[in-house]
């Protein structure tokens, strides 16, 4: 079965790929191969399946979650496969004549390719045994249907109809998927046969079934989802005949038919399913009476008939199910025949408007006669199959002791009266007397290829009715596949029975209705069309989405940030609400008196940062906060942190001031996104949330700290007494490698931003200030900027020159001793940066280039390479990445010197940090007095 589905897809692929070169007949021949082969295969299976065989095959797809391509050929599946492939063959063959030689080849390629791809998807759907196989092919039919409805994609109406159909059926597909997940999870199996054998129960399954029914209702155009089907008539007639009457729209009915026998005894099932089906039946019938386009009339009639089938399959009584199978076959035969008939009339006269047609019967008596038989079947007139099937449904319904069966009988009767009326309206509209004026003329008569399929379908309709008994025996196998208790039999003449009486009543009432409507001029057009309602709803949805987006995505970054912080606060509140407690470690007011003093001063400066009106003051206060933090680190027992923080704070202060030279002195007051009180409220909440986190996290420890182990291992394994440094360069060396990479990236970012800005700013300055000749006199660098030494301060310059080598030596010493005492590569690099900074400040802007020993990027790169190379070397030596090796050397005079490889790593850190500092200084420090491109708020 899988190969046949694949054959369809391959044929579609060939048509799409090479159809243009195959020519009209060629591409249809390729497309026809697949359905013809399927018919041949299905016929060979009939004997075995009638004898009770159910061949199955299963191909694993995603075994880990039990998703498989699984097919099973029971009686019902075989019947549906025959319908799909047989109809496909006939309609495709008919299309060869329908699409004349004047058709653009591209349109034919899209039609034939989409058609055969759909046929493959539909075949897979009817054969599917696994719910996921079912779902995949279900969605494939939606998509191919979309392509075919939108075949004339240059027409806006066709595009709109295709979009509408896809939105509704794909939404239903989503519901179906959700339902199948719930049901198959509850059942523990994804096999449809397995579900039927051992049905699950419970609330979850009920929810799943409702979702499945929603999916079925969208696909089978049940109220209120029926609006897409009439629009789908934008597709060419063969598509309407095949997809939108005979096959795809039955997919929902098939699913209902598979599930109803298993689940119909749930209390809510029959009211819901029978109610929806009955409503659809009546609504579709009334809709059909309003139409003037013969195709639209048939489409609304299809909606009505689908409602009938949902009632018959969905009520879940075994014998009704058996009768429903005949109903489904009967509908497929007569509806396809009628669509093709409308196609023939359209082809012959150029119109489908039944107000202008009529009288075509005299020109095309054969077609009119065939249509009369098919229409008779639709209206439920003997001896056609439609009559036999409807009798069987009524008869079995009347035998059920169930109030919903009675409701169903009433609904079927009402719907059938409407059906008789619109059938009469259709046939007389096409072939009756017709109007006196503006009558459409037959331009060219249909050839045999157009008439033959109609004749075949009509003949089957007639034969099915005449040989109802033998046919019923065959169809019974299909019914039993759905419900083992179903015992179907069909009869043409059962004597004078209640169903016959009802049928006579239906036909008489329908005929009277037709005559009355002709007298009064028909049913007026609906005031509000379903399409209109759908479009309003769809537009409203988009508009609503836009409104929501306008509120939540208002473009204000501070507002987004506020949301982030509120989530943090909510997280803290949630943690407190769900039982986070301040731990038992206990908390003290202060560790020592000095801490209280430093905290008090730091808090004051922190608030000063926020309230300062000038950038300069707030930056200085920020530096103060940083120094305060450094002191607190010191008091906590973290000299390394204190050292680093002091150096960084100094460096940041200078960098900040370098940039501030460019910016306005005070803050402008741009309109804020929210009132001050709101912002302060968010800020207070954020502070309190983090304080709560600090209180909980700082006092709750459930695991022993890893510090004890590190403290013990530090000296023997890594050869260092400063545990912080050992953690950085050895125990967690890979982390540090990552972090210095971040530094390098940030430095590159700064460099590029500044270079880009400088290109914009100095279009007339050819040279990069950094590349200025070294012998440029200091006066050339003079600046009137008060924040840096504009004219060179001789004293500062001299002191700076003197201190420079000393500071460099100190930095190297601090870096190297870091393994055993406070210091290390980070601190050393920052001190070295400080040495250059002094030269920089003393020399004035922007002549740091003089003191640059190397291009900064080379320093950054070398540092990174040295650090990474240390790790690589230990790997090469057969050790772990960054594992330390300790050498003890005894050079003369110096005594024992201990060399640890991680020192090399720290040298890399040193070089990189120095490079980053120099890069930031040179780039942000250079180029004062430049004016912005636009604005200029100085």
């Amino acid at each position: 079965m899988g190969p046949l589905v694949l054959l369809h897809l391959a044929a579609a692929a060939v048509v799409f790929a090479a159809g243009r070169h195959l020519g009209r007949r060629g591409l249809f021949a390729v497309a026809l191969v697949a359905p013809v082969a399927t018919v041949a295969w299905a016929v060979t299976q009939v004997g075995a399946v009638l004898d009770g065989a159910t061949p199955a095959e299963r191909t694993g797809w995603v075994p880990s979650i039990d998703v498989a391509l699984s097919f099973r050929l029971d009686g019902f599946a075989l019947l549906m496969a025959l319908v799909v492939a047989g109809m496909g063959t006939l309609v495709l063959a008919w299309s060869v004549a329908y699409f004349g030689a004047d058709q653009p080849i591209d349109r034919l390629v899209r039609f034939a390719g989409g058609f055969v791809a759909f046929a493959g998807a539909m075949l897979g759907l009817v054969l599917a045994d696994d719910v996921w196989t079912l779902f995949v092919f279900w969605e494939a039919t939606s998509i191919t249907s979309f392509v075919l409805i939108g075949l004339d994609h240059d027409q806006p109406s066709a595009r709109a109809a295709a979009q509408r159909a896809l939105l509704i059926t794909a939404a239903g597909g989503l519901a179906l998927m959700g339902g199948l997940v719930l049901i198959s999870q509850a059942a523990g199996t994804t096999s449809l046969a397995g579900l039927a054998a051992d049905p699950p129960g419970g609330t979850v399954v009920t929810a799943g079934l409702v979702l499945v029914l929603v999916g079925a209702a969208t696909k089978s155009a049940q109220v209120p989802f029926q609006v897409w089907l009439p629009g789908a008539m934008a597709a060419p007639t063969p598509v309407s005949a095949f997809l939108h009457s005979a096959t795809m729209v039955k997919a929902g009915v098939i699913v209902v038919g598979r599930f109803a026998p298993v689940f119909a005894d749930l209390g809510w099932w029959r009211p819901v399913v029978v109610g929806v089906g009955a409503l659809t039946m009546v609504a579709g019938g009334i809709g059909a009476l309003r139409q003037h386009d013969a195709k639209l009339l048939l489409a609304h009639g299809t909606v009505s008939q689908l409602g009938f089938m949902v009632v018959a399959f969905g009520i879940g009584h075994p014998d009704v199910t058996a009768a429903a199978v005949a109903l489904l076959v009967g509908h497929a035969l007569f509806k396809a025949a009628l669509f093709l008939t409308v196609g023939i009339v359209d082809h012959a006269t150029g119109t489908r408007d039944i107000r202008r047609l009529g009288g075509v019967g005299r020109a095309l008596p054969g077609v009119a006669a065939l249509a009369a038989i098919a229409a008779g079947s639709m209206a439920g007139l003997p001896p056609a199959l439609g009559f036999v099937a409807k009798e069987a449904v009524l008869d079995t319904l009347l035998h059920e002791d169930d109030p919903w069966a009675l409701v169903a009988v009433v609904a079927v009767a009402l719907g059938s009266i409407l059906t008789v009326a619109y059938t009469a309206r259709l046939w007389w509209g096409l072939f009756g007397a017709g109007p006196a004026t503006e009558r459409a003329e037959v331009h060219h008569r249909p050839g045999p290829v157009l008439v033959l399929p109609v004749a075949l379908l009509t003949g089957l309709t007639l034969l099915g009715g005449l040989f109802a008994g033998p046919l019923g025996d065959r169809l019974a196998v299909a019914g039993e596949a759905l419900d083992p208790h179903a015992h179907g039999h069909l009869v043409l003449w059962a004597g004078v029975t209640a169903p016959l009486a009802i049928s006579i009543g239906i036909v008489v009432a329908g005929a009277v209705l037709h005559l009355v409507l002709r007298r009064v001029g028909g049913v007026p057009a609906a005031r509000v069309s379903g399409e209109h309602v759908f479009q309003r709803g769809f537009d409203g949805l988009l508009d609503g989405a836009r409104r929501v987006t306008a509120v939540v995505q208002n473009g204000s970054l501070p507002a987004y940030l506020a949301v982030v912080w509120l989530v943090v606060v909510a997280g803290g509140v949630g943690a407190l609400a769900t039982g986070a407690r301040i731990g038992d470690v206990g908390t003290v007011v202060a560790d020592n008196a000095l801490q209280v003093a430093v905290v008090a001063v730091t808090i004051g400066m922190t608030i000063g940062v926020a309230v300062a009106r000038r950038r300069f003051s707030s930056v200085l206060l920020l530096g103060g906060v940083g120094y305060g933090t450094a002191v607190l680190f010191m008091l906590h027992g973290a000299p390394d942190l204190a050292l680093t923080q002091l150096l960084v704070e100094t460096m940041s202060l200078v960098v900040f001031l370098l940039v501030l030279r460019q910016l306005p002195e005070g803050y402008a007051a741009p309109p804020e996104w929210a009132p001050r009180t709101v912002r302060i409220g968010i800020a207070v909440a954020a502070g309190l949330a983090v304080a709560g986190l600090a209180a909980v996290a700082g006092t709750t420890r459930s695991e022993a700290p890893v510090a004890d182990e590190y403290l013990a291992r530090s000296e023997p394994e890594a050869g260092g007494r400063n545990v912080v440094n050992v953690v950085l360069v050895d125990f967690r060396g890979i982390d540090t490698l990552g972090e210095i990479t971040v530094l390098a990236v940030a430095a590159i970012g700064v460099a590029n931003l500044v270079r880009a800005a400088r290109r914009d700013l100095a279009p007339d300055e050819d040279e990069d200030p950094l590349d200025a000749p070294l012998d440029d006199g200091p006066s050339a660098a003079a600046s009137d900027d008060p924040t840096v030494a504009g004219d060179r301060s001789v004293i500062f310059d001299v002191v700076g020159r003197g201190l420079f080598p000393v500071l460099l030596l100190v930095s190297i010493y601090v870096a190297l001793r870091g393994h055993n005492a406070p210091g290390g590569g980070f601190a050393g690099g920052l001190i070295a940066g400080g040495a250059f900074l002094m030269r920089f400040l003393a020399a004035g802007t922007p002549r740091l280039a003089r003191a640059r020993p190397l291009p900064t990027s080379a320093l950054v790169g070398t540092g990174l390479l040295v650090a990474a190379g240390t790790g690589a070397a230990s790997l090469a030596a057969g050790q772990d990445f960054l594992e330390s090796t300790i050498w003890k050397l005894h050079p003369p005079l110096l005594g024992e010197v201990k060399l640890v490889t991680s020192t090399v790593f720290d040298v890399g850190v040193y070089l990189l940090v120095l490079g980053v500092v120099l890069s930031v200084l040179t780039h942000l420090g250079a180029g004062p007095g430049l004016r912005p491109v636009r604005g200029g708020a100085r």
Partner: protein, 132 residues
């Protein structure tokens, strides 16, 4: 962790948040720096009570070295981040003559439901009023 330290952390983070909610990039950078200090203190404080420097042979009750190592790199990365943000502010100044964070133009178009909302990248932004 001592209560005064917790109080300082609260003030640092709260003030930092308040500053970050402004539109001026300078203030945002100040806010980021303050929050960075607060979080660094939080991490160091969470490691355990104050103690001696975690250097072998330096004292009997060393403070936890692990958060210290964590925070040490955080301090340096904070410097690099701050420099990057300053470069951004400067770049913004070179383009617009101010250091303010502006609203996203396409988002504002969406909010005003203008027709070109479909393609925010099409057309010239120059004719739009200065969005705030």
């Amino acid at each position: 962790m001592s209560l005064v330290l917790i109080a300082l952390i609260a003030v640092l983070v709260g003030t930092g948040t308040y500053l970050m909610l402004h539109r001026t990039i300078t203030r945002i950078i100040l806010g980021v720096a303050l929050i960075g200090n607060g979080i660094n203190l939080l991490l160091v404080g969470s490691g355990g009570p104050a103690g001696d420097a975690p250097i072998i042979g330096h004292g009997s009750s060393p403070a936890d070295p692990v958060p210290q190592a964590l925070v040490l790199t955080a301090i340096v990365i904070g410097f690099a981040t701050q420099a990057f943000l300053l470069a951004l502010a400067w770049r913004n100044w070179t383009l617009d003559g101010n250091d303010e964070v502006e609203d996203d133009i396409s988002d504002r178009r969406l909010a005003r439901r203008e027709p070109d909302v479909v393609d925010p990248y099409a057309g010239d932004d120059a004719d739009l009023e200065e969005p705030r």
